[in-house]
């Protein structure tokens, strides 16, 4: 499903990703952890072409992400992304936020898109909010809409970049619940998060990144209770 080989990424002189290689299977749920500035977001953003890799090879959802920008939007249709800051379209209603992708990108009819959006809203527990605007919703609700918006494109992979870290503690649970349901339905997911409960419950694999490299990876059990690398241990000691 995802194949990354020797991925390097620099911003000017700053080298942020220093040779990342990894393979992620269909239906796998991979949790990425690591200290601030270790390159987790950059890695995720390279996977759907929001950042262009300096060098290396990425294959995702059956398409190759080469250095040229052509057909990037075709790939992005198949790779959903959920951001830390939600990034809902502020000028559109909740329903329109979800339908704009299917309607304008996939050229579905209005009826079809609306029906799909209502179904997704029900799934994330937000039926009845169709006509609200994003700034009328709580953070947790906005993030669930953002997940629905991504799902409306029927993606093959979903990327999550710290989806709960901008939320008040009491709203974290509702968003994680939606993500857990999604994982159990067999969605392929790459999740940057420090929610260890989530990683333990639905994660198939945990990747620990530091300083632009993958330092260690393994099952949640392996990483959380039996880490081999010093850097992993000291990081976990700080957050657990």
């Amino acid at each position: 499903m995802i194949n990354v080989k020797d991925l390097y990424k620099s911003f000017g002189k700053l080298e942020v990703l220093k040779g990342i290689s990894n393979h992620i299977d269909e239906k796998e749920v991979v949790v990425v952890i690591g200290p601030s500035g270790s390159g987790k977001s950059t890695f995720l953003r390279c996977l759907n072409g929001l950042e262009t890799a300096t060098s290396g090879h990425i294959e995702i959802a059956g398409m190759e992400l080469t250095h040229s920008k052509t057909k990037l939007h075709m790939l992005q249709q198949k790779v959903g992304m959920v951001f830390q800051q939600f990034n809902l379209f502020k000028h559109l209603t909740i329903l329109e936020n979800i339908t704009i992708g299917p309607r304008k990108v996939l050229k579905r009819t209005k009826e079809e898109s609306n029906a799909l959006a209502r179904e997704l809203l029900k799934k994330v527990g937000l039926s009845g909010k169709e006509d609200s605007y994003p700034d009328e919703l709580s953070g947790g609700q906005q993030q669930r809409v953002a997940i629905a918006r991504a799902l409306a494109m029927q993606p093959e992979v979903m990327l999550f970049d710290e989806p709960t870290s901008a939320l008040d503690p009491e709203m974290v649970g509702e968003v994680l619940q939606v993500m857990k349901d999604l994982a159990r339905e067999g969605m392929t997911m790459v999740v940057v998060t420090h929610e260890m409960g989530f990683a333990r419950e639905v994660g198939d694999r945990v990747i620990f990144m530091d300083d632009g490299m993958i330092v260690e990876e393994g099952s949640p059990q392996d990483i959380f209770s039996n880490a081999q690398e010093e850097r992993t241990k000291s990081f976990l000691a700080k957050i657990l």
Binding site: N48, M81, N87, F89, H91, I100, V105
Partner: protein, 215 residues
Amino acid sequence: MDVLLSGLKYTVEFSIIAIILMVIIGLIAALMRLSNFFLFRWIATVYVELFRSTPLLVQLFFIVLGLPAILPVNDWFGQRNYPVIATALTLALNEGAYVTEIIRAGILGIDRGQKEAAASIGMTKFQTMRYIVLPQAFKRMIPPMVNQAAQTIKDTSLLAPVGVVELLYKTEIVVSSTFASFKFYGVCAILYFIIIFAVSKTASYLERRFQVDKR
């Protein structure tokens, strides 16, 4: 008085044409300035700087009266049409340079996350502009745009010296034949005031309605 009113008609016509053109020109130039293609950026930047750093009156003299001396523009557009077309276009190009910066600032003011979210659902750059960025930028642009439109209407008064018939020119004709300058220039000023006041009131009304409907 009749002469003044026919001048008023020209002022309104010129203003409308110039405002429509300036918005179109401004939008195109703003998108060019923001494009990744250096030639587009370069052309648009030269255009904006050129028109913003020379006085409108000089531009008018140069294009309306100067160009025919070196180019057969009168043959292309006709002796009678050229001054009219050139005047409207110069006015639009001049105001368009300011509109370019208004639109550019409006677009740049939109949070980067909005564009990234649009890209993440597979929108092309064009779709992102059309459905996500411009609608949000448009709302922020209304107040400065209205100012610019009012400026354009005021600037039609500069068209008098290049001989295109509009309100101030008509006033000059009347004044030089009657010497009642205070009265007539006063009427002229009031007429300009009425037009511009009406424009900005209508605009702020529209702006308020827009915000109620679309939050």
